[in-house]
C-alpha cells in the first residue's frame, strides 16, 4: 500500500486569502486525486492531478478556484484560492494503488481548513 502525507494538517485562514496544501506519496503513482469533505458530509472528488499536464476537474470545480500542480509521480499540491467560509472543509489527497481493474484507493490524513 501507499503511505500518504499532507501538509498542513490544519489551518485557519482569513477570507480572501489562498492556501496551498501539499501531498507527498512514498512511492511513484500514476494517479493522484483531490477530494473535499464539507462539514458533516461525505467526500466529493475535486479533480484528478495529472503528471505533466493540466488537472482534470469534476463538475462544479474550476481551475481558477482550485489550481493543482503535479510536478512528479510522488507529489501534488492543491491551492484553495480566494477563500470564503464555504470553503471550510477537510481536503484529502488520494492515490490509486495497483495495476488491475480492482485497485485499492488510499487517502492521506487530510487537511482541515477553517475560513473565517
Amino acid at each position: 500500500s501507499a503511505v500518504i502525507s499532507q501538509k498542513p494538517s490544519r489551518d485557519i485562514c482569513q477570507r480572501g486569502t489562498s492556501l496551498t496544501i501539499q501531498c507527498q506519496v512514498d512511492s511513484q503513482v500514476t494517479m493522484m486525486f483531490w477530494y473535499r469533505q464539507q462539514p458533516g458530509q461525505s467526500l466529493t472528488l475535486i479533480a484528478t492531478a495529472n503528471q505533466g499536464s493540466e488537472a482534470t476537474y469534476e463538475s462544479g470545480f474550476v481551475i481558477d478556484k482550485f489550481p493543482i500542480s503535479r510536478p512528479n509521480l510522488t507529489f501534488s499540491t492543491l491551492t484553495v484560492s480566494n477563500m470564503s467560509p464555504e470553503d471550510s472543509s477537510i481536503y484529502l489527497c488520494s492515490v490509486e494503488w495497483g495495476l488491475s481493474s480492482y485497485n485499492e484507493q488510499f487517502f492521506g490524513p487530510g487537511t482541515r481548513l477553517t475560513v473565517l
Binding site: S42, S94, F107
Partner: protein, 109 residues
Amino acid sequence: SQQGEEDPQALSIQEGENATMNCSYKTSINNLQWYRQNSGRGLVHLILIRSNEREKHSGRLRVTLDTSKKSSSLLITASRAADTASYFCATGGRGKLTFGKGITLSVRP
C-alpha cells in the same frame, strides 16, 4: 448522484457486541470499498471486495457483497471502543469514487 447509501446512519453498541452496517448502490460495480474515518481525520482503507466475490474477511472485519441486490454489508465482530468512527462505502474506480453519507458507530466501553 449518490451511489452508495449506508444504513443505519448511526449505530450505538456495547463493547464486545457485533456491529453490522449496510450499503446499497444503484448501478453495476467493479468493486466496492469500505473505509473508516476517526473524528474527521483521513480515511483508512478497510477492505475492497470485487464484484465476483461474495464474502471477504480481514481480522475482525467481514464484508459481504450481493450484486443481485446491489448491497454490501460490513460486520465488525467483538467491537472495541477504538472502533468508534464513521464508516463509508465507496464504489467506482480509477480514482473516481462515489461515497455514501457514512455511518457513525459508537462503541460504549
